[in-house]
């Protein structure tokens, strides 16, 4: 674990540069401990694949003290907090009208669209962090058979709810946006809402399982989401 300053406002805590569930767990545990022990001086904590950025109140504490305290907290063994995580079941419609890149992936990978969908819905994904757009979940754990390179030319417009694949990652566009991921489906769920606090249902360390719904069900759920009557199925995990 190494420390680097983020301008004058933050401390970047870095792990080796890889996507690794063990690192995710360490980051989650350290984050929880910092939230508990340093809440008086810390403004916000932002996890990513191999880093935790700790933004602190510069009028209360200085960088050197922050990193010393984080280091102490990290090295204090014995009281490891296992962050509680939830498993969320997320509906996705893999109809070709939404999954505009399914055909290409199927052709290149020499597999059927059905097989791609089956693989995509077969594993429990880890939420590594939220970034890029408000509510955009970076998910790890995509089966290797459907890893697929980012599009050479990003699209100007990707639909809200679009489910995409980029290399070893999968994720969902919470709002309409330009984007370079390959689109394989669409989820009717609302992934980000400023009316709620926190504004996103999941957090780093949670788990996601996708289940396939048809066009009619997608439509029905979208309506229910808009009416505020749809609740995502979830359970405490681990």
């Amino acid at each position: 674990m190494i420390f680097k300053p983020l301008g004058s406002i933050g401390a970047l805590v870095e792990w080796p540069e890889k996507i690794d569930v063990e690192i995710l767990k360490e980051i989650g545990s350290l984050r929880q401990k910092i939230e508990k022990e340093l809440h008086e001086v810390v403004i916000d904590i932002v996890p990513a694949y191999n880093s935790l950025s700790v933004f602190f109140n510069t009028s209360k504490i200085r960088y050197s003290s922050v990193i010393r305290k984080i280091n102490d907290i990290y090295n204090k063994k014995g009281d490891d907090i296992i962050p509680g995580s939830k498993l969320w079941r997320i509906p996705v419609c893999y109809d070709m009208s939404f999954g505009i890149d399914l055909e290409e992936i199927a052709r290149v990978k020499k597999m059927s669209v059905k097989e791609i969908v089956k693989l995509h819905t077969s594993v429990i994904y880890d939420v590594y962090f939220i970034g890029f757009l408000p509510g955009f979940l970076y998910l790890g754990g995509l089966p290797e058979a459907i890893h697929y390179k980012r599009r050479a030319k990003p699209r100007q417009k990707v639909l809200k709810g679009a489910v995409g694949i980029a290399d070893a990652q999968t994720g969902i566009y919470p709002m309409e946006s330009p984007g370079g991921w390959n689109i394989i489906g669409n989820s009717p769920f609302k992934f980000f809402s400023v009316e709620e606090d926190p504004p996103c249902f999941a957090r780093s360390g949670d788990k996601i399982l996708f289940y396939s719904v048809d066009l009619n069900e997608h439509k029905r759920i979208r309506k229910a989401v808009e009416m505020g009557s749809f609740k995502l199925e979830n359970e405490v995990y681990g």
Binding site: G7, D44, V46, A48, Y49, R62, G131, F132, L133, R203
Partner: protein, 301 residues
């Protein structure tokens, strides 16, 4: 009691900004906030407001607005030739207005962004801890003709000081920016750092609240991408083509290009006042002297 201002024309790009959203980055929510915080805070200070009250940020071409109630206002930042009821007014000076008074702007003399502050601040949507406009977070992302914005009520004939300050024009025409080393600075070769600190960089037409792209590429990096990590305003990313992008206030919370430099907050303020075609050099501030300077400010209190 409600007080309002009416937008008769919005100008090139105008919106409400304060010091931004600082507690929602882990949900992917950008910080946003005034591009030039110095000028934004100055507007509040001159009005006797709390420093973090929302102000109107205007860009290059100013709006035309009508006051529907008595209030005090001030214009800070860039000189876009402000006029009150057709008569030129001074920057950084508080004026009193009544119903029907019209504030408009003319020729741009220097700077890119000006700030209109009103007594007690704007009373627009407060979302996730901030008034700052951002597409997808606030209902509006920019002002349009016909918008009526609520402002604080301050009665008839509010008192105000005639205090005004003079800001040196150099503030708006800086040709160098203070930077510290970014997290991936050590990946740079000697050849690359020579380019970075000896060459002048020109601001590309691709510049907005999210980021400023620079025209002149530097030698490319062997390692083109990093695994996605955090970005903050002022982070300088080196893209695979060798071009640099400086992240600004609306930048995404994470990104995947090497972060080679970091502008100081003061440097972000100054960059926000530059425009397409302006040139500058990067001036590396030793991170330890920088932190010492901050620490000194801290212990003085």
């Amino acid at each position: 009691m409600d007080s309002h201002i009416l937008i008769l024309s919005p100008g090139l790009y105008s919106g409400i900004q304060d010091l931004g959203r600082k507690k929602y980055r882990s949900y992917g929510v950008p910080i946003s906030g005034a591009m030039d915080k110095y000028s934004m805070i100055l507007a509040n200070n001159l009005l006797g407001n709390e420093t973090d009250l929302p102000v109107m940020e205007i860009t290059q071409t100013g709006p035309k607005i009508m006051f529907e109630n008595c209030t005090l206002f001030v214009v800070t930042g860039a000189d876009l030739s402000p006029k009150l009821n057709g008569k030129p007014i001074e920057l950084n000076r508080v004026y009193s207005v009544v119903f029907g008074d019209i504030l408009e702007f003319g020729k741009r003399n220097y700077g890119s962004r000006a700030y209109i502050g009103v007594k007690g601040g704007f009373k627009t949507d407060h979302i996730l801890g901030s008034y700052s406009y951002f597409d997808g977070i606030t209902h509006k992302s920019r002002l349009v003709k016909g918008d009526r914005l609520p402002i604080a009520f301050c009665g008839k004939n509010p008192e105000h000081s005639s205090a005004k300050v003079k800001i040196k024009k150099e503030y708006f025409k800086t040709d160098w920016l203070y930077v510290t080393k970014g997290p991936e600075f050590d990946l740079l070769t000697k050849k690359q750092t020579d380019y970075l600190f000896k060459k002048k960089f020109e601001i590309d037409a691709l510049n907005n609240r999210m980021g400023y792209q620079l025209k002149n590429p530097i030698p490319r990096m062997k390692k083109k991408e990093i695994i996605t990590s955090v970005l903050i305003p002022g982070t300088v990313q080196l893209t695979p083509s060798g071009k640099l992008i400086i992240m600004m206030r609306d930048c995404p919370t994470t990104g995947g290009y090497p972060r080679i430099l970091q502008l100081t907050d003061e440097a972000i303020n100054r960059l926000a006042q530059l425009e397409t075609g302006d040139t500058f050099t990067f001036n590396l501030e030793n991170v330890f002297s920088f932190l010492r300077r901050l620490a000194a400010r801290f212990t003085d209190k």
